[in-house]
Symmetry: C2
Subunit: 545 residues, 2 copies
């Protein structure tokens, strides 16, 4: 163990900074640990902010995981809130800070400095952007302001349909607001592939939330007590309150001014111990880049889990040096609940793999959250992406009303272990009727992926890609209820006896409800010499109501 540094200064007292402070104190009672925080609060539950606005977390105090006083008492930290770091003098190892209470400035010397300033919500320089009716949500004060403004608002416009935008849409709807969501991309949740978020889009629309997709903001204008958002399409949307949730930008100005190396998008570059280009300065959380352990590319994941664990890594390296556990990179696991539906992702999406020019294969399957014969099971749609070279899993997305988090966590673990599609096929997951299935949807995705590799499953990604000869193998009643346009219905049990009705001279595309019996049908047809392909995901996934 290294000689204990006298003074550790940490800039930023929320997820990454607070974790670093706590971990440092476990290593040493002697170190002077100074936690600088520009705001009045430390270590609050920023992921919980929307749920206080919506009333699900009624007591605001529940969001204050720790207070400056509790951190002093428990960790003997020198907590200085309302204190802004102005500049870093690297050669003298000093930080210039300013008190926001009295504007006094002072110099703090450090042996080790940890930068955990986070990222700030993007606020593009549009006309009218400074209106007091336009809010972003980062801290408890933002939350208080939005909660107060929402009290008298009838309509709220949410700009940006990412995770926070959707949580806000849900929560504001729950307290009786009319909500419009505006998103530049032609889909909500652009982190996920378009077809995977359609059930969420349906859920939002079913609740009466207006989705304005593929449209952006050109500016804002105050019209009496309301604000009008001017859309790129030429539309104008009058509203009482705007929530801006279009993304975040790393707060790396201090680091940049100090000459620390930054990445292409302004994140601080760190090594696997979270050390910056200065051997006495670490950076953790939303402000820094990290490596994606799937493809080895640089990435930045502004989420609480990585921030907490990076803070821990930095503190470990201060006290353990090379013996510290390296931060293994971030794979980007995320989930959102929108009313009774959840959707999430781990690893790469198809969109990102295309952007990166990485070859991949993909399959989408449906399964039950638990044994379908036991009450309360819900359908989970799972999209799996893997490398055609070695079958290694590259990412997955899941969507459904129950058990989405569990499947994402299983595949996040598989990504950490660099497992392949065959490993997924043979995962031995917990099965009792209330909890799972003898063949879990993750196993089924592994089976389907293996079937594709082995030529047993010849898939078609969607109905639009299918040729003219489509055979719907569902029971007649199901086929009539949610018809597949242009399809001929031959229920699976009749297929073998009705082969003569199918044109052998052209490809045949099979479809069913969930994408399972269409595979069975395609196998029957292929084994009888047809050029047969199964439409992935089934009518459940492909046909919009």
């Amino acid at each position: 163990m290294k000689t204990t540094p006298d003074t550790i200064v940490i800039i930023g007292g929320v997820a990454g900074g607070a974790s670093a402070a706590a971990r440092a104190r476990r290593h040493s009672e002697a170190a002077h640990i100074i936690l600088l925080e520009r705001g009045p609060d430390v270590s609050f539950a920023n992921c919980g902010l929307p749920y206080h606005i919506g009333g699900e977390i009624p007591d605001r105090a529940d969001l204050a995981v720790q207070t400056p006083d509790s951190l002093r008492a428990l960790l003997n930290l020198d907590v200085r809130t309302l204190t802004e770091a102005i500049s870093i003098d690297r050669s003298n190892q000093q930080v210039l800070v300013r008190s926001l209470a009295d504007s006094s400035e002072s110099l703090i010397s450090y042996d080790k400095l940890i930068l955990a300033p986070g990222a700030s919500p993007l606020r593009p320089p549009l006309p009218g952007i400074d209106s007091p009716l336009i809010h972003t949500l980062r801290n408890l004060q933002d939350m208080d302001r939005i909660k107060q403004a929402a009290a008298s608002a009838q309509h709220v416009a949410i700009i940006g349909a990412g995770f926070i935008g959707l949580e806000m849409a849900e929560q504001l709807h729950e307290i009786g607001k009319q909500v419009s969501v505006i998103e530049l991309q032609p889909q909500i949740l652009p982190q996920l592939d378009a077809e995977m978020v359609r059930p969420l889009e349906d859920t939002l629309r079913d609740k009466g939330i207006e989705l304005i997709l593929g449209d952006g903001i050109d500016g804002f204008e105050m019209i009496s007590n309301q604000i009008s958002a001017k859309l790129k399409s030429g539309k104008n949307l009058a509203t009482d309150l705007v929530i801006l949730s279009i993304g975040v930008r790393p707060e790396s100005g201090l680091a940049k001014a100090a000459g620390l190396e930054l990445g292409p998008r302004g994140h601080i570059v760190v090594d696997s111990y979270q050390l910056t280009s200065d051997p006495h300065i670490y950076a953790v959380g939303d402000v820094c880049e990290t490596e994606d352990p799937i493809l080895g590319k640089r990435t930045a994941i502004p989420l609480g889990g990585p921030a907490n664990r990076q803070g821990r890594t930095a503190a470990d390296h201060i006290f353990l040096g090379e013996k510290a556990l390296r931060y293994p990179g971030s794979i980007g696991t995320a989930i959102v609940r929108v009313f009774d539906h959840a959707a999430g992702i781990t690893g790469y999406s198809e969109t990102r793999l295309k952007q990166e020019g990485v070859s991949y294969q993909t399959v989408t399957v449906n399964g039950s959250s638990h044994a379908s014969y036991y009450p309360g099971s819900e359908t989970i749609t799972l999209k799996l992406l893997w490398s055609p070279e070695d079958g290694r899993v590259l990412g997955a997305q899941a969507s459904g009303k129950d058990g989405v988090d569990k499947r994402l966590d299983v595949i996040a673990t598989a990504l950490r272990g660099r497992l392949n599609i065959d490993d997924l096929a043979h995962l031995e997951l917990a099965y009792a009727p209330p909890f799972g299935s003898a063949k879990d949807v993750v196993n089924v995705a592994g089976f389907a992926a293996g079937n594709m590799r082995d030529g047993l499953l010849v898939p078609v990604a969607d109905l639009a890609s299918a040729g003219a000869q489509i055979i719907d193998v569902r029971p007649a009643a199901s086929a009539a209820k949610l018809p597949v346009p242009g399809a001929k219905n031959i229920p699976l049990p009749q297929l073998r006896s009705r082969l003569a009705e199918i044109d052998r001279s052209q490809p045949v595309f099979t479809v069913c409800q969930m994408g399972k019996t269409s595979y069975f049908a395609a196998r029957i047809l292929a084994n009888h010499g047809f050029d047969a392909r199964s439409i992935l995901g089934g009518a459940h996934h492909q046909v919009r109501k």
Copy 2:
């Protein structure tokens, strides 16, 4: 691809056998696939049987996943129910079968034979064991008989507190029966370590279910309309109905008579393609042994998941030969729900590691099912076991009211990937307040394990192993509510200022509610020169109400 075999005969039509048949049909439309089943049903949901008895699955037909007719229609199988295989003539590749309807016998030739006869409930040759009031539960007919017998019973005795025994205890209680559970081991669920099942034992007793632990059965005696179970302790237990659930025995008599190689406990020995010692005969499911991929030992896991996937493996090998995906072995993941509480295991328990003489380390931590500031979170207790040599995970057990299945599945995936404790520390799991925590309990277990390796956490397994000087660092109110016998209360925030009250000349043991702040306290004390150790799991886990 091999030449298609003309005839595949499968003995046993439930999990493994039905899966093998279905998979074989995907490979070939031409093969003659004969499915022999001694009972009247095929492919039924045997894991769902208790829930029909308890009324949670009200419609019996929901348990018939497939029927002989549906298998004929969908898979073109030659399904022969009520047909018992009598013997195998390996040299002529024939099975002698007997119709249970008319006792007629016939010979069926096979190119490939798949044995999937399952395992039968143990029924030891005790005095009175043949009483009609003593039931076992394996199939729909057993279920019907128990359901009928339970209707008029007031009291039910369940012999054996394994997974099925506990499910039956819950379900019979739910329909108003008085229930006693008798278990030879001094704990319920002997698959898990004793301390991990105590919350379940509490739950059962709270519901009024009698637990008779560490006691066995010497025999039964009819006394008028009741049956009296004579216990080894000398007690007699009068009851209206006995459910015998003390384990299963592989139905390998046919295989043994045919000269196939059997393992030490009577299971059929197979390779990783499920091939027996005869190159034309496969065995799948409860009847066969497999390898445990954690320590490479032979094991037999009589559960539905492995059976299904083994059936698939055998069919693949018939058609793909060496190109088939090998069965990777069974790690033994299992879960049970008992009222509002769940408990389960994946991989090795501490008890089994001791039996095998394998060195291990272990830690037990508590965490929240999701963010503790979001409503509805429940405590999960997680016990982790790993190899001290390389940190590789060997097994885990979890217990709690919510999210137990998810954590078991994550660690089951980690076991498949041979991940170590540091990998668990850095798993990036799905986090939004309704679903998880920034530091999930699995991460926390990984942290704690790493802390033990690195000497930061010096644990004591339980209160009984602690020395005399115990410091309870909980707030005074919590310490008073669930007192730790013999402990002195110094709340954590006061610890640094009250060090003088602690005797430096002897070890000090710290305890708290959940085992987390006691670790913090032990770090403070260790950094101040004390010989300090933290009691794992906290009062929550250690002190019985």
